[in-house]
C-alpha cells in the first residue's frame, strides 16, 4: 500500500482510469466535481484509451452511456444534485435495460431553494430506480468502491448499474491520503468487460423495448431479484477485493464499537467518521454508544441490520435526506428492518444543504435518543422559523 495525498475527486478520476472504461460521457455543469475534468485531462494526455463524449446535458450524458454499454463497452459517468434529477428518466432506463454502468454521485442537495452544498437527497431520490447504491465514508472507500462496483455490476448474474456515492465537498473537495491501487492489480481483479449480450448488426437484439401488461410485471420482478442477488455478490467480491488489496468490503454494513453498545447510531457516508470520533469521546465518559455504518443502501441489507442491532436499547438514525411528509429514507428502512424487535428507532434529519455536523451534534443526538426524543429535524435555527 502506498499512500498519496490528493483531492477526493482526483483520486476517483485516477481510479476510474484504472478501471479502463472505454466510453466516458458527462456534462460538466455546476454542480459537478473535478472528476470529469480530471478524466478529460487523463484521456487528452493519452493515459486512458477511451472515447470521451461531451454532451449537451446530463440527460444526454447517461443516454450516451446506455448506447455505449449496450454496444458492449465498459462505461462511466459522474453527476450530482440537479444533474442527477435531469437524468431521472434515463437512470430508470439504464437499470431496466440491465446495463452495468458505474456512475459517481458526489452527493449534494436538490433545489429549490438552490443549494450547491452536501446532503444525500440526490441519490436517495433515485433509490427506487433499480441501481445499486454504495456510500463511502472516506476517499479510500470512494476509490475502492468504484473498482468493486464494476466487478459486481458486470457479473452475469447481476447486470445492474451502480451509484458510488461520496459526499460532495466533504469528500470530493478534500485533500487526504489515499492508496490508489496499481494498474496491474486492478486489471487482474476486474479483467476486461465481457458483455452478457450486446448490440450487433449481424445478430440484432433490442434493449428497452415495449413491455405490454402481459410482460412488464415479470421484468420488474426479475430486476428486483437481481438487486437482491447483488447482496451476495457484494460480499463475495468484497472479500476477494480484501484478499487482493488488503481492504475487506465483504460486509454491507459495518459496526464500530457496536458489540456492547446500548445506543446505536446508524448512518451513511462521511458523517460516519465524525460519529466515530464522537463515539470515542462518549466511550471515554463511560457511555456505551456504537455505530452501524450502512455502506450498501441498495440492496438494503435488512437482515444484516436487524442482526447487528438486535442487542441495543435505542437506535438513532442520522438522515442526510428527507422524504417530505414521511421521514428520512434510512430511518424508514431501518424501522422496517427492526420491525417486531420493540427497539425504538429515532430519526434525526440533519446536515441538509451543507449544514455542518460536529462531534457535539452527535453527542446531543445520543442524549435526545436516550430521552426518547426523536423523529425530528436536528439543528434547526429557531430564530428563522
Amino acid at each position: 500500500m502506498t499512500l498519496q495525498i490528493m483531492e477526493g475527486s482526483i483520486a476517483v478520476a485516477e481510479t476510474v482510469r484504472l478501471c479502463r472504461p472505454q466510453v466516458i460521457s458527462a456534462y460538466p455543469i455546476t454542480p459537478q466535481t473535478h472528476i470529469v475534468e480530471g478524466l478529460a485531462s487523463i484521456v487528452a494526455d493519452g493515459r486512458l484509451d477511451a472515447e470521451y463524449i461531451c454532451v449537451d446535458s446530463e440527460f444526454s450524458a447517461l443516454s450516451c452511456c446506455i448506447g455505449a454499454s449496450a454496444a458492449g463497452s465498459r462505461v462511466y459517468s459522474a453527476t450530482t444534485s440537479q444533474g442527477l434529477a435531469l437524468m431521472g428518466e434515463v437512470v430508470f432506463n439504464a437499470a431496466g435495460m440491465r446495463l452495468p454502468i458505474v456512475m459517481s454521485i458526489a452527493n449534494r442537495a436538490i433545489g429549490a431553494p438552490l443549494s450547491i452544498w452536501n446532503d444525500q437527497q440526490d441519490s436517495i431520490m433515485m433509490r427506487d430506480s433499480g441501481w445499486l447504491q454504495f456510500y463511502a465514508e472516506d476517499n479510500q472507500e470512494a476509490v475502492d468502491l468504484h473498482i468493486l462496483a464494476y466487478k459486481i455490476c458486470e457479473d452475469h448474474d447481476i447486470l445492474l448499474p451502480a451509484f458510488v456515492c461520496f459526499d460532495g465537498f466533504i469528500l470530493s473537495h478534500v485533500f487526504e491520503p489515499v492508496d490508489i491501487p496499481s494498474s496491474d492489480e486492478v486489471d487482474k481483479f476486474l479483467g476486461p468487460f465481457a458483455p452478457y449480450q450486446r448490440l450487433d448488426v449481424k445478430d440484432p437484439i433490442s434493449f428497452g423495448m415495449y413491455a405490454t401488461p402481459e410482460y412488464y410485471l415479470e421484468f420488474r420482478y426479475e430486476h428486483d431479484l437481481a438487486v437482491y442477488r447483488a447482496a451476495d455478490a457484494v460480499s463475495r467480491y468484497g472479500k476477494a477485493f480484501g484478499e487482493m488489496f488488503g481492504r475487506d468490503y465483504a460486509a454491507l454494513v459495518e459496526g464500530y464499537k457496536l458489540e456492547d453498545a446500548d445506543v446505536a447510531i446508524v448512518a451513511m457516508g462521511s458523517i460516519c467518521g465524525t460519529t466515530k470520533d464522537a463515539i470515542d469521546e462518549m466511550r471515554a465518559e463511560g457511555k456505551r454508544v456504537g455505530l452501524l455504518k450502512i455502506r450498501c443502501f441498495r440492496p438494503f441489507p435488512s437482515t444484516d441490520i436487524a442482526k447487528a442491532l438486535a442487542h441495543v436499547n435505542t437506535i438513532a438514525v442520522l438522515d442526510k435526506n428527507v422524504s417530505l411528509g414521511a421521514k428520512g429514507a434510512v430511518a424508514i428502512e431501518v424501522k422496517e428492518a427492526c420491525y417486531g424487535s420493540c427497539i425504538p428507532v429515532y430519526d434525526y434529519i440533519l446536515g441538509l444543504g451543507g449544514r455542518d455536523v460536529c462531534k457535539q451534534d452527535i453527542k446531543k443526538i445520543v442524549e435526545l435518543a436516550e430521552k426518547g426524543t426523536g423523529d425530528m429535524f436536528y439543528g434547526l435555527r429557531e430564530e428563522l422559523l
Binding site: 487526504e176 467518521g273 451543507g354 455536523v357
Partner: protein
Amino acid sequence: MKELRIHGRGGQGSVTAAELIATAAFAGGSYAQAFPAFGVERRGAPVQAFVRFSNEKIRLRSQIYEPDYIIVQDSTLIHSVNVFSGMSGEGIAIINTERKKNYDLPAGAKLIVIDATQIALEEIGLPITNTALMGAFAAASEEITLEALKGAIEERFPGKLAETNFAAAKRAYSMVAEGAV
C-alpha cells in the same frame, strides 16, 4: 491532532495554501487533511480553508472552530470576520499586514505579523501572499519543514514560478525563525 484555519479573500490562494501545507505535512510523515470552507467563491469575498494534522488517520469531517493556528492573508478581513474565533491561549496567529495593530487575540496566544505582500511583490512580482505565509507558518508551527514545503511548491507550480514562490516562502520562514517579525 492540530488544526489550522486560513482566512483570505477569493483569489488569494487560501485553498492552494491549505493543500500545499497538507502535502508538506504528509511528506513529513503526518496524516493530513485539507479542505475549503464550502462557500460561494467569488473573487475578493472572505473565504476560509482548513488543515488538520495528526499522527493517526483523520476521521473528523466538520469544519474547524477551535484552531491551534490561524493564518490571515488580508488584515482588512479582521474588521468583518472574527478571525480569532475559537482560538485558545496556546494558539499562533500569523497575520499579513504592513502595519501591526492591537488585535483582539486571546490572552497568551502568539502573534506573528509579517508583510507577506511586500515579500511577494519583491520575490514573485505579484501580491500573491500565500506561499510567503506558508513559509511563516512552517517556521512558527513546526508542523512542516521548509524542505517539505519546497517539494509541495515544486509539485504544484512549474519551473520559474516554483522558484520565485519558494523564494518568498524561504524569506518569510527565515524572518520568523530568526525572530525578525
